[in-house]
Amino acid sequence: MPDKVKHTLDPNKWISQYADYLYNYAITRVDGQEIAKDLVQETFFSGIKGKDNYRGDAAELTWLVSILKRKIIDHYRKINSAKGQKEVRMSFYDEGQKKGNWIEERVPQSWGNEAEKEIENTELKNALDACINKLPEKYRMVFLLKTVQQYETEEICNELDITPSNLWVIIHRARLQLRICMENNWFKN
């Protein structure tokens, strides 16, 4: 094995080389293009501020991604503490004799026999997108990373600094919410 290659930083090339990659990385994890753009910009700024600390162990892009990851986690901390965030309603009684039982109005209703035939429908995709966008941002992200991007549980937990049981609670609540949203806006009609 040759000696480890020392990497160097060249901020003048960052935009042309990495902006799209970082933007894509951000947009799968946050809600909206503007936020993704801001996070990419902040990442580059932090990169410039911190470039004297760069030791050349990791490739330039890897190093920038690690900055972006921290920006995304900070972003979540911020929105989690913000007021007026979207809420996930409870589907089960959380105390008393009925603890863990379905709350009557949240009980799954029949979708009829037509439901399965309809999954090709393009309007259905819009209904689904609308329901996903109603999820609180953290739920939306964890759900999409796991379900669509198909990340390993461990990977998501490391990235977001949560435990596997946190992750499954989030997935559980997100799916309950999506199910009832689709029921009310699509299947019941």
Binding site: W14, Y21, V40, F45, S91, Q149
Partner: protein, 86 residues
């Protein structure tokens, strides 16, 4: 871990199993619960359909999202300013 589970726990296992990550014991407990609970049985059936829907209609990010030329130029300008400010 107790064998009898409530609806909240049953549907949580059902969700986990959609990703192939429920344990064998979980799946046994879930199957037993589904024998006695028609609500969760409905949930379970619909949950499978939801997974099909997600697979059909949600595609992973394929790197196709791009910043526009204008956005990149704007970013470039800000970055250059920041670099000179050092």
């Amino acid at each position: 871990m107790k064998f009898m589970i409530n609806c909240d726990e049953a549907t949580a296992i059902c969700d986990k199993s959609q990703y192939g990550e429920a344990t064998l014991y979980d799946k046994i407990r879930l199957s037993f619960h589904l024998l006695v609970c028609k609500y969760c049985k409905t949930y379970s059936k619909q949950n499978n359909l939801m997974s099909q829907l997600f697979g059909k209609h949600l595609s992973p990010c394929d790197g196709s999202e791009k910043l526009t030329k204008e956005e990149k130029l704007e970013l470039e300008n800000k970055l250059q300013k920041e670099l000179k400010g050092k």
